[in-house]
């Protein structure tokens, strides 16, 4: 939409509408100030320490774990769709003549010759350390405020740094196919991690490792001991609380985070890839 279109009556209407929305939203936020109902969040807080030591991880990946699965999907689909909108379409009907294709923008020409020497020689170690940092963040997801999303964007920034510093000879050289596979496999792993809970209790994504609830009399099914050990024991930690030592496991949450990380790496790098190399089926983009 061009600015020109917003002149005259249309502009006035748009401005009035925006003003009404602004006043409405701001006034309701002012009214909510100090009056926010706690609702279900109190219950979540009460229960959080029984699983992952990090409250946020239990909320995001366990209590609202299925929400996060679809969020993950939003990221992946968003990347694929925006690449498709930027680039050209995928399919045509057999035997139909095609409309003229939208001319693809030429890939950005990166001139690495003019890069400062310092950047050129220090970028590679920094890229490797960034990758390692991303992995540290994802592996400590359940204990600190890290997780799959953060790891994904850290590693994507390493990818972008590598591409910007080295151009076509980028050492971190993930191809289109690899990125699509990363994203798809990450989302697939996250989806499939719901299967153990589904097979034993019919609850999708029930955390069989932590297994907080199968002791309740109204719980409809049983979790076998083997599942509890396989998914629970590898992530067991000792929490030194005021009341004494409490052993807790976050169960399937760390695995979910790894899957999430791969999905985000695939999605965000795919967008970078499309902008830097362009999107075409014939050429893989790099190495010409």
């Amino acid at each position: 939409m061009e600015i020109k279109e917003l002149r005259g009556l249309r502009g006035v209407v748009a401005a009035v509408a925006l003003l009404i929305i602004f006043v409405g939203v701001i006034s309701s936020f002012i009214q909510l100030e100090g009056n926010v109902a706690r609702g279900i969040s109190e219950e979540y807080n009460k229960l959080a320490y029984r699983m992952a030591p990090n409250n946020l991880a239990s909320w995001l990946y366990d209590y609202r774990g299925f929400d996060t699965l679809i969020e993950t999907g939003v990221i992946y689909v968003g990347a694929v769709v925006s690449v498709m909108v930027i680039g050209r379409g995928l399919v045509g009907l057999k035997g139909m003549r095609e409309e003229e294709e939208v001319a693809a923008a030429p890939p950005i020409a990166l001139k690495t010759e003019t890069m400062p020497v310092l950047l050129k020689y220090f970028a590679l170690p920094v890229v490797i350390l960034l990758l390692a940092y991303g992995l540290l963040v994802v592996t400590s997801a359940s204990t600190s405020g890290g997780g799959g999303f953060q790891c994904g964007v850290i590693i994507s920034s390493a990818y972008l740094l590598s591409v910007v510093a080295y151009g076509r000879r980028s050492p971190l050289n993930m191809r289109k196919k690899a990125l699509v596979a990363f994203g798809a496999l990450g989302w697939g792993l996250y989806t499939l991690i719901g299967l153990p809970g589904y097979l034993t209790t019919n609850f999708w994504q029930y955390n069989v490792g932590a297994d907080l609830w199968s002791g309740l009399p109204s719980f409809p099914a049983a979790v076998p001991e083997a599942f509890r050990q396989i998914f629970g024991e590898p992530f067991k930690l000792a929490l030194h609380l005021e009341e004494g030592v409490y052993y807790a496991t976050s169960g399937i949450l760390p695995i979910i985070n790894v899957a999430e990380a791969f999905n985000v790496i695939g999605a965000i790098c795919l967008i970078f890839f499309a902008f830097v190399y362009g999107w075409s089926d014939s050429a893989e983009g790099v190495e010409k």
């Binding site: 299925f66 009907l93 609850f203 409809p220």
Partner: protein
């Protein structure tokens, strides 16, 4: 009657199978045979699940509810605040999901035969569109509703952009741009509702509102109603947004539009029912919904009357008939809601007939424009027959299903003391007939003015099995037209629940 289970087995299958299929298809990329087998098998499996499934709830991740005394329970007979995300599968969900599954199966069968180039990701997006359709009607949670609507509108853009034509690219870009606005609108509505009630679960939020006196916080509720309605208008392509949505409908391949229109009608039903359940008691809420619906109906059908391309005519008619669905829901009476829901089911089916006929025109004709064509009835009589039958159903002519639902809507409008609404519904039905037959006459019945060269047919062989698919769909419109009770049995219970016990999913 036994107690409702909270771990119904079928709900995860209905949402997870499409996701996994989409991932597999994405990885298969261009292996035609494998894609065809995988997608048809999975679509058939979804259809079977939707038929055989019993009714119940699924509490994803299996956290219990918190009873009022602070204890935890999985029983649905005890009142409890839910800790987990809740999906509900009931009669209304069953009939809508069954219809969508049937259409998905047909569309997959057609598209895997008629497409070229790497269509793995494209079919994957179709499966995800189906996922958003089934999720939005089952979900009983504001936060999840937001995510599903968000992913749904992204997928619409994806399906449209995939066809690669310049106009499609433009439509998709416009649509994604506005989806950002309406997505954040829905997020604000969600934030305000969470702020007032503290519960993301829709049933819990309604229960909280019934138990608590909001005092001077009522205008916050109004603001959140306004934002939720904005996303309703957007997701369904109602009045002020209708040019965007009809652009989307006509730029996608017609077989993709079959899924898109099903998705947007199911979203209209789902969000509309949430609006009624949550805000139905607010003064002016239903009036606002009703006026938007009437505007949509009239604008859509007027725009359809002046188009010169069959695809455009259908695009605007779909928008106009979305208004018919929402009129019923906004009336807010049990009869009105039943009419709206029945109209949604019928609409999805007869619009699919017309859209698939439109797809066939791409093969048998030089496009879908009214001007450049003619004489198809002589060349392909069966196609002309199906198009005419579909048009009869769409314009509400007696032995077909459109007649039954429009009759209920008119009765509900009259019963609600709104004869003006009944008049508009009648007007839409008549104008639909005129708009459709204007197109059908000049494309199918009028003698051909410029006969196509014979050679062009061999280049494009239409997918086989199309007469069978169209036959099944037309049979459904006939059966529902003769025995409307078949569908009404599924819908009445939900409509009554929305009016009298809104906190029950």
């Amino acid at each position: 009657m036994s107690e409702t289970v909270v771990n119904l087995w079928s709900i995860p299958l209905l949402v997870v199978i499409p996701i996994l299929t989409a991932i597999v298809l994405n990885l298969l990329y261009n292996r035609v045979r494998a894609i065809r087998v995988a997608s048809v098998v999975s679509a058939a499996a979804l259809l079977v699940v939707s038929i055989v499934s019993p009714y119940g709830l699924q509490w994803f991740t299996g956290q219990p509810g918190v009873a009022s005394d602070g204890s935890y329970t999985y029983s649905t007979s005890i009142f409890s605040w839910k800790l987990s995300l809740e999906y509900y599968f009931g009669p209304l969900q069953q009939i809508l999901i069954f219809t969508s599954s049937l259409l998905l199966l047909f569309v997959v069968v057609i598209s895997t035969r008629s497409l070229k180039k790497d269509f793995g990701p494209y079919v994957a997006i179709m499966f995800l569109t189906y996922f958003s359709t089934v999720a939005v009607i089952m979900v009983n949670d504001f936060y999840h509703l937001w995510i599903v609507v968000e992913i749904g509108s992204l997928l619409v853009a994806g399906l449209v952009a995939a066809s690669g034509a310049g106009s499609a690219q433009k439509a998709a870009l416009k649509y994604t741009f506005f989806s950002a606005l309406s997505g954040s609108g829905l997020a604000i509505a969600l934030a305000l509702i969470l702020g007032i009630t503290g519960y993301a679960n829709i049933s819990d939020a309604i229960s909280f509102l019934m138990m608590t006196d909001l005092g001077n916080m009522y205008n916050v509720l109004y603001i959140s109603f306004a934002f939720l309605m904005l996303s309703w208008i957007y997701a369904g392509g109602l009045a002020p947004i209708h040019p965007l949505k009809s652009d989307v409908y006509r730029s996608a391949f017609p077989h993709a539009t079959v899924l898109l229109q099903a998705q947007s009608k199911v979203m209209l039903v789902a969000i509309g029912l949430v609006l009624l359940r949550m805000f139905g008691g607010l003064p002016f809420a239903r009036e606002a919904m009703l006026s938007i619906s009437l505007l949509t109906m009239i604008l859509g059908v007027v725009m359809a009357l002046i188009q010169t391309d069959f695809r455009w005519i259908l695009a605007y008619l779909i928008v106009s008939h979305s208004g018919l669905v929402t009129v019923g829901i906004s009336l807010g009476t049990p009869l009105g809601i039943v009419g709206g829901l029945f109209q949604a089911v019928n609409d999805i089916v007869y619009m699919s007939v017309l859209l698939l006929c439109c797809e066939m025109l791409l093969y048998f004709n030089n496009g879908t424009s009214i001007r450049s064509s003619g004489g198809i009835a002589k060349k392909v009589p069966w196609l002309a027959a199906f198009a005419i039958l579909g048009a009869f159903a769409a314009s509400g002519i007696p032995p077909f299903n459109g007649f039954q639902s429009e009759l209920i809507l008119i009765q509900a409008a009259l019963g609600g003391g709104l004869p003006e609404v009944a008049a508009v519904i009648l007007m839409v039905s008549v104008s639909t007939f005129i708009a459709l037959f204007r197109g059908i006459y000049s494309i199918f019945l009028k003698p051909s003015t410029n006969p196509l060269p014979e050679g062009s047919e061999s280049a494009s062989s239409p997918p086989r099995g199309m007469p069978i698919i169209l036959g099944i769909l037309v049979a459904i419109t006939l059966i529902l037209g003769v025995y409307p009770q078949l569908a009404l049995d599924f819908l009445t219970e939900s409509a009554v629940k929305v009016v009298y016990v809104p906190w029950v999913p």
